[in-house]
Symmetry: none
Subunit: 552 residues, 2 copies
C-alpha cells in the first residue's frame, strides 16, 4: 500500500485504510464491482454520468471494496464521472478504480495518452487489461508475445511509480492457458513481479465450467504464487459458480456486476456471489448489516439503469421466496425454515404465499394473515374461499398475480355479501376505422352510484382506454380520490391458444395511487369484457384503500 496524499487528491479515496466497520483486514478479500464499466456493456444499458454517480453511491452503501467506474480518456462521460465522483461522493467503503489498457506497442508508458488519462482520473486504483492469449496478441494487438510482456511490465511499473495501486485483468486467460499455458503463466508472473497487487484471471468469452476454473486457478497459484482474482462471464450459466470455484481454489478477489449486467449473457452477479460467501461459506466480505440491504439495492440499481428488476433473480427477486404448492403450505406454517434455504430477511427479502388452484387451505390462511384477516380456526369459511378460488381459476382467473382481486374475493366471503361503490347497468364501446384511415374509439357507461343513475362517456386510443375514461368520468364527481389512480400496467392473455379468437381472454391490470400499486384480474369472452372486470376491481380496491365505505 503506497498511496500518498499528493497524488490522490481526495483523502477519502486513499487506499489502505481498513474500513472501521469491517472486522479484520478489509484487504484480505476484495469484492470488486464493475457494473459501471463491464456491466454497462449490456445490450440496452446506456448510462449518463448522473446514473453512474447514483449507482456508485448505492454500491458504496452496500459495502463493496472497489468500484470500477469506467475507462477515463476513452470516452468523455467516463472522464467526467471520475472528476465528479471525487468531488461529489464521500465514499464510506469503496475505493474508486479506473480501467484502462497497457501501453500501445512501441510507445513509452508515460508517453501514452490513454495511460496518462488513468493517472489524471485521480483514482487511487488502476485496473490494466492485458492480453494473456498469444493468438490475441498477434491478431488483436498485432505485436509480438515479447512486446506484450514488456507492455505489461512497463505500464504496471509506471502506474505504480505514480503511487497507484494496480490490478491486472488477464483477458481470455482460460482460453489462453488452454492454448499456450507457458505464455499465459508468463503474463501472470510479469504482472505480479512488476508490482500488480492482484492478477485477475478473466473468462472473457464465458465458456468455462466450475471444475475447470477450480483446476486452473489452483495450478496458477502453485506455479506463480501470485495473488489471484476471478472475472467470470455467464455464457454457460455458471458465472456465479465459476466465481465461487475460483475462491475455493484460492482466489481472493472477485469481480462482479450488480444484477449480473454485462455483455452478451452478462457477468457474475454480485448479489448471489456475496450472499454465498457470507451465508454459505461463512466469510465476512461485506460490512455488518450490508446483506440485509441487498434486495433494496438490487432493485434500486435496476431502476437507475431502467430495466425491470428480474422477478426470478436468486435472493432478491420478488419470486425468490414465493411459495405456490399447496403441498408445502401446511408444513410451512409449522416451520418455515424447512422450506427456505435461508431466512429471506437476511437479504432484505420476504416470504410470500401465492394463491393458486394448486394451493390448499393453509396457503389461503397464510395469505389472509398477510392481508390482515385472521382466518385461523375458521374451517368452513376457509373451505369456502378455497372452493371459490379453485372454481374461478378453472374459469381462467389467476390470483397469484392479482392480490387485490383476491382480497376482494376474501372480503366478500368473510362478510358474506358483495358490497361495491357502484352498480353497472350497461356499457357500450364503438371502434371505427374511418374511410380517411383515422380511428375513433368511444365508450358509454350507465351506472348507479349512491342511488343515482349516471351516464358517462369517454374517448380513447382503443376501446378499453375509452371504457376506462368513461368509467372514471362517471365516478369522479362522487369519488374525487379517483383522480390519483393511474393505470401502470396492463396485460392480456388469450387462454386457449388453439381456439382462435373464440378463446377466453384474461386481463391483468396494475393500478397505482402514487404510494402503492395493486393488481386485479378479469376474464371474459373478449378483451373488452375482461378489461371491464379488472378495471372494476381496480377502482373498488383503490377506494377501499382510501378508506371509503362501499354503499351498493
Amino acid at each position: 500500500m503506497t498511496a500518498t496524499p499528493q497524488d490522490t487528491p481526495d483523502p477519502a479515496l486513499r487506499d489502505g485504510e481498513p474500513g472501521a466497520d469491517v472486522p479484520g483486514d478489509r484487504d484480505a478479500f476484495h469484492v470488486f464491482d464493475t457494473t459501471l464499466r463491464d456491466g454497462a456493456q449490456r445490450e440496452g444499458i446506456n448510462l449518463t454520468v448522473a446514473d453512474k454517480l447514483t449507482i456508485a453511491r448505492h454500491l458504496d452503501e452496500f459495502g463493496v471494496g472497489f468500484i470500477e467506474g469506467g475507462w477515463p480518456g476513452a470516452n468523455p462521460r467516463d472522464t467526467e464521472f471520475f472528476q465528479r465522483a471525487r468531488r461529489e461522493i464521500d465514499f464510506r467503503h469503496a475505493r474508486l478504480v479506473a480501467f484502462g489498457a497497457t501501453r500501445k506497442a512501441g510507445v513509452a508508458a508515460d508517453a501514452d495518452p490513454q495511460v496518462r488519462a488513468l493517472i489524471d482520473s485521480g483514482a487511487p486504483v488502476v485496473t490494466l487489461v492485458a492480453k494473456a492469449h498469444d493468438r490475441h496478441v498477434e491478431l488483436a494487438l498485432r505485436t509480438t508475445p515479447e512486446e506484450n510482456l514488456a507492455m505489461i511490465r512497463e505500464t504496471v511499473q509506471y502506474v505504480r511509480s505514480r503511487d497507484r495501486r494496480v490490478f491486472v485483468d488477464c483477458e481470455h486467460f482460460f482460453d489462453g492457458y488452454a492454448a499456450n499455458p507457458g505464455y499465459a503463466l508468463e503474463v501472470v508472473r510479469t504482472a505480479s513481479d512488476a508490482g500488480a497487487d492482484v492478477v485477475v484471471l478473466c473468462d472473457t468469452n464465458g465458456g468455462m465450467l466450475p471444475s475447470r476454473i477450480h483446476r486452473v486457478v489452483a495450478e496458477v497459484i502453485s506455479a506463480t504464487g501470485a495473488r489471484l482474482g476471478i472475472h467470470a462471464q455467464d455464457d454457460t450459466g455458471c458465472a456465479v459458480a465459476n466465481t465461487l470455484a475460483a475462491v475455493e481454489a484460492g482466489a481472493t478477489h472477485v469481480q462482479c456486476t450488480a444484477n449480473g449486467y454485462g455483455e452478451r449473457v452478462g457477468n457474475a452477479n454480485l448479489f448471489p456471489v456475496v450472499a454465498a460467501l457470507e451465508l454459505k461459506e461463512n466469510r465476512r466480505v461485506l460490512p455488518p448489516g450490508a446483506l440485509a440491504e441487498m434486495t433494496r439495492i438490487s432493485h434500486a440499481i435496476a431502476e437507475v439503469v431502467n430495466l425491470t428488476p428480474s422477478t426470478h433473480q436468486p435472493y432478491v427477486g420478488v419470486s425468490a421466496f414465493a411459495h405456490k404448492a399447496g403441498l408445502h403450505a401446511s408444513a410451512i406454517k409449522v416451520d418455515p425454515d424447512l422450506y427456505q434455504h435461508i431466512d429471506p430477511e437476511l437479504v432484505g427479502n420476504s416470504m410470500r404465499m401465492l394463491v393458486s388452484d394448486m394451493a390448499g387451505r393453509a396457503s389461503v390462511e397464510l395469505k389472509g394473515r398477510e392481508l390482515g384477516y385472521d382466518l385461523t380456526g375458521q374451517r368452513e369459511l376457509v373451505g369456502r374461499i378455497v372452493d371459490r378460488v379453485k372454481e374461478r381459476e378453472l374459469a381462467g382467473y389467476t390470483y397469484e398475480a392479482a392480490d387485490a382481486s383476491f382480497e376482494l374475493l376474501l372480503r366478500d366471503e368473510v362478510q358474506g355479501r358483495t358490497r361495491r361503490f357502484f352498480r353497472l347497468e350497461s356499457w357500450r364501446t364503438i371502434t371505427d376505422r374511418r374511410p380517411d384511415g383515422e380511428q375513433e374509439n368511444e365508450a358509454i357507461v350507465k351506472l348507479w352510484v349512491k342511488g343515482e343513475r349516471v351516464v358517462a362517456s369517454g374517448e380513447g386510443n382503443g376501446p378499453v382506454n375509452a371504457l376506462d375514461r368513461a368509467l372514471r368520468a362517471g365516478l369522479e364527481r362522487t369519488f374525487p380520490e379517483l383522480a390519483r389512480f393511474q393505470l401502470v400496467d396492463y396485460r392480456v392473455r388469450i387462454l386457449e391458444g388453439r381456439h382462435g379468437t373464440q378463446s377466453a381472454t384474461r386481463v391483468l391490470v396494475t393500478t397505482g395511487d402514487g404510494t402503492a400499486e395493486w393488481s386485479t384480474v378479469g376474464v371474459g369472452e373478449n378483451v373488452i369484457a375482461a378489461s371491464w372486470e379488472a378495471l372494476q376491481d381496480a377502482y373498488t380496491h383503490g377506494l377501499l384503500r382510501a378508506g371509503l365505505q362501499p354503499t351498493e
Copy 2:
C-alpha cells in the same frame, strides 16, 4: 424394462425401446424434463391442457428422454393431459412420466387412490416423491421414520408390479443428509432395493453450492451403489453448475425444465445443462441434430407459456452472441472463434454485431431463398428490405414469428408495389354489455373487391371475432376459397408494459387451410386495429397460396 402392452395401452409409449437415432444405449444417461410438472410451479405460469400438449411435442422433438407430465389424480387438468397425450402425441424420443407421492401412512399402496391414479394415467414411467429428511417426515407427513420407509418400499414395489418403471425423487435430500445422513442413506437404499431404477437426490430448497453437491453425490454412490439422479433448484444461482457437479460425481440422470422455469427462482435450466454436457463435456445426451434446434425450441416454449423469452439466457438468448462492435471488430472478422465460446450455430443461435440491428443482409437473403426468392447479388433490393424490416420492427412488428407477413413485405419490395385482393374503405365494431348482463358484438366492414363496393357485417363473441366474420362475409362470395381458412391461433402482446392501456398492441395470428398453417402480424394502438392488420395479411397470404392473382 418390464412394460407389457396390456398395461400401457398405447404401444408407442412402451418403455425400453432404444430410440433408433440415438447412438448407444439411450438409457445410459437420462435427460429428464419436468417443465410440465415442476416448471409449471413458476409464478405467473398457468398451463391449459392444450398448452401442455404443445410443450410436450416441442420437448419430444428436442429429444429429451423423459417428459414428466404432471400429477394425474391430483388435479383434473393433469389427468386429462395424460389421456390426451397418449391419444394425440406420437412420441419419437420421450417416455411420458407420471408424478405422484408414495402411499399415505397406514394405507395399502393398492388402496391409495392417488397411487392408483398413477397407474390409470397409462404412463410407462412413474416418479414417486419421497421424504428423505427425518424432520419433514415428522412435520409434513406426521408419521414415523419407519413408516416412511415402508411407504417408499411398498409403493415402489406396487408400481413395479404393475409393469411401470419407477424413479424416486428424494425430497430435501441434501438438507436431510446434513441433518441425519444415516436416515437419508436408508431412504436411498430402500428405494433402490425395492426396484427404483433411479434415485433422484433433490435440492428442494435450492440452497446448495456445487462443491457440496459433488461431495454428497460421491458419498451416496459409494455408500449405496444406487443409480443416482439430480434435481436442482436455482436459489443460489447455481442450479446448472450443481447439476453438472452431480454428473461429474457420477449421477446419470438430470432433471431440468425448459428455460429454467420453476418455483421461486426456478429449476436447473435444461438448455445450458444439455449444451454443457454435449459441447463442453463431449457426452452425447440428445439425438444428433437436436442441439441446433435449441434456440427455436426455447423461444417456442416461452411463447406457449406466454413469457417473453429471456434476451440474456445462456446459449439461446438473442443477446447471447451479440458483440458490441468497435474494439474487436477487425479481429472478429479474422477469427470469430476467438471471441465466442462456441459457434452459435451449434445451438441454432447466431452472432450479432450490435451496430447493425437484428436483420442483416445475409439473413434476409437466406430467408428469401427459403421462401423461393433468389436475392443473391441484388444488393440494393436486399438493402431496401433490411431497412423496411428494421423500421417495422422498431414500430413493434416481429417477423421471426410471422413468416407470411414477412413474405408479403418481401413480395411488395421485389415487385416494387403493393397488390392485394381487396381495398378497405372503413370498418366499425360495437361491443355492448346490455342491462340484462348479456353481451353483443357487431362489426361492419366496407370494402372494394374487384371494382365493386361491398358492405358486410358480422357478429361474434368479441369485437375481433365479429370483425373477422364481417371480413369473411364480405369476401367469400368472390373468393370461395376462404371457406377453408381457419383461425388456429391468436396471440396478443402489449408492447410497452409500463404505459397502461395506451401502449402499442401486437397481434400474431396463425391461419390454416387444412394442409398448411401460416402466421401473420399486426400492430396498432389497440387490439382491434392490430388484429385487423394481421387478419388482412392472413387472408391475402392464403389467397396467394391458393394460386389467385391480386387485383387491387
